[in-house]
Amino acid sequence: MDLDSARGALVQESRELLIAMEAGLLDIEQNGMSTDAINAVFRAAHTIKGSAGLFALDHIVSFTHVMENVLDRVRSGRLGLDEQMLSVLLASGDYLSKLIDGIDAQRDDIEPDAPLRALLLQQLSDYLPNENKDVVATAKPEPAVEVMNAERGGSDSWHISLRLSPDVLRSGMDPLSFLRYLGKLGRIVYMNTLTETLPAAAEFDPETLYLGFEIEFESEADKQTIENVFEFVREESVIRILPPHSKVDAYVAHIKSLPEEPQLLGEILVACGALTRTELEHVLGMQSDAPGQKPPIGTLLVEEQVVHPGVVSAALTKQQEKHEKKQHEQRFIKVDVDKLDALINLVGELVIAGAAAQLAAKTDGSTATQESTATVGELVENIRDAALSLRMVPIGEVFQRYPRVVRDISKDLGKKIELVISGAETELDKSMVEKLADPLTHIVRNAIDHGIESVERRQAAGKPATGTLRLHAYHDSGSIAIEISDDGAGLNKERIRNKGIERGLITAEQQLSDQEIYRLIFEPGFSTAEQITNLSGRGVGMDVVRKNIDALRGEVEVESREGEGATVRIRLPLTLAIIDGFQVSVAGAAFVLPLEMVKECADLIAADVYRNLVSLRGEPLPFIRLRELFAVEGAQPQRESLVVVQYGGQRVGLVVDSLVGELQAVIKPLGALFRDMRGISGSTILGNGQVALILDVPNLAHSVTAQHVTTTSQSAPRALSSTH
């Protein structure tokens, strides 16, 4: 494992832990103290510290150590957790995020915010008794193992035994300098310099090191830190670092409290600081060298005097338990996103090639060939689904950041807000999840800032003092819908309208539907906030939201009821790569519709057509002739077909020459040349090599309803909850 990928793993793990830490803290804030929550928070701080220690990231180690001390006191009930402390801990988590970002950007030598660090350390240390405070002040590296019974007596000293390589002096290194540095990490209680190996004057080589050192060393530093002192003289040297005896109990207790992921015994020992990676490798080397039967690693370590027997047996018990637990665990493997993308591209090509093979088999193949290509086609379809599902993640990944956002903003504004999340398990493409985060944050902030009123105003309006903000996600006819709704004041139509006139977006004479008025808020530079807060009101935000959603081939709409609240609904296609399509043709040109949006197909009967409406089973349905829309040349055939598509509650008919059938379409983006082309969202290559255009159904549906007063429930908002 090279260092960069190890650092990458550290960054990712730490980010996950910080999220867990935040969730735990918010959980305590909402539902009061619980053992699970505080343990999760403590474990997060502790694990980050341990991992950072492996990379000698002292700025993280020293900070998390202080956090850990505070959390440990809370955990053991010696310290109560109040709102102020929660805020300090949350802020500390944010600061740690910055440090982790720094490591990610390979800039761990730069302190992102020294004053903040000092302030947080000060605030944290206020919760600690005096003997821990000097630790904070000097911010020395500290032990990776908390001594559970707190007291560290004077007998607690490390024993370091050094037999350095004879060539150390020749390579220009002086053991004195390492020993001096060691003295900075703690106190050398007793130094025993061994001179027995000095040869007689005749054999004495002045450039060879003969001295050995036995050192009793009292320090707060952990083993890894001590070992790192001798990092440059490790080659050919024998270095043993024995932990303080009285700490063995602590190791034992600690091993039992480790988190649940399966680890080798050795790894456990490394994680708890009784053993360092170098020693482990050394012992593993011995294990493979040992002839005949291999003694178990634990025995080796004890024989080698690397760990105390008590520590090993505790680790072994732990390992046993882990094996039993492992069977019930979900198992994950982390895969590079680029590899997944490469796979999906290949599957895309396979789909196209498969379609070509099937077509060839149909035109001039035997029955056997046709059958086998059909089987291959079916398998390709399954592979496609499996490959695409690899990229799908639950939207909960995005949702989980909002409890904190809502908490912070509502605290800032002095509003009371409850956040309700549902449908977090709804899955969508990973790349979208990442791109969704910013727009959603804007919408959430807007809802809190403009939507939900202050406590006084709510009470005056006869509403409950606490406002509710809902995040809801669900699948809906081939797309995913995300609703952000609040029970606040709703959008002020009159004010938006006036603002629109003022900004020259609309004229005073224009008659606009409610929907059209609401849509104005997505125009650049539009903001109706009476006072500019630091959250919103600068008129940047909602236009960016729309831009982001457009880029994802999605759309955003607003519903509002004066005094009762507003809902912003985002709809996104499920995937960006391959879809099940339905092929139609107009004058020989092929078009593809997303199959999930196709509701039914029928013959178009001329008698039922009235201008741009067709009567379908007595219901009026607006329709578009693709022939007219795309100005396709050629005579209109005798019989035309009607394809009924539905998108987001709107039904529209598309009139085509003929229906071809279902296919799998690999979406190829259109070039910049077609950017302003309405009604087309992409292209695909058919089995015969022909290019087909993929129709942008949402866009078509809108262009139709813009021309018609339809029967869909536009002006009367539907219930906020949706069934599916």
């Binding site: 002096l169 002086d174 004195l176 007793y190 025993n192 001179t195 000095l198 004057a201 002045p206 001295l211």
Partner: protein, 104 residues
Amino acid sequence: MPIQLKRKGEFIRVHIEGGLNIYCASEAKEQLLQALAKGQDLEVDLSDLDELDTAGVQLMLMLKQEAQRCNKSCAFINHGPAVREVIDLLNLASALGDPVVIPA
């Protein structure tokens, strides 16, 4: 590392200036052993020695050992602060066995 010798019968006085370290260890070994060979009592004045590393410490120990082997005496005197720091760190005062005068 200039080493100066003064001889009074069997008493040899050696004065080392500058550094006693890995860079001059071979040379220093030769000179110190020669000095020891010249007489019965060797006194090494360290007052102007301002740098001492592990190689230098080993030389001092070696010289003591060699003197003992030949039934001669060897004493280090006037330890400067640099020397005292090293001897303290390595806890070699007793091994060297010289009275170290610690300035008030």
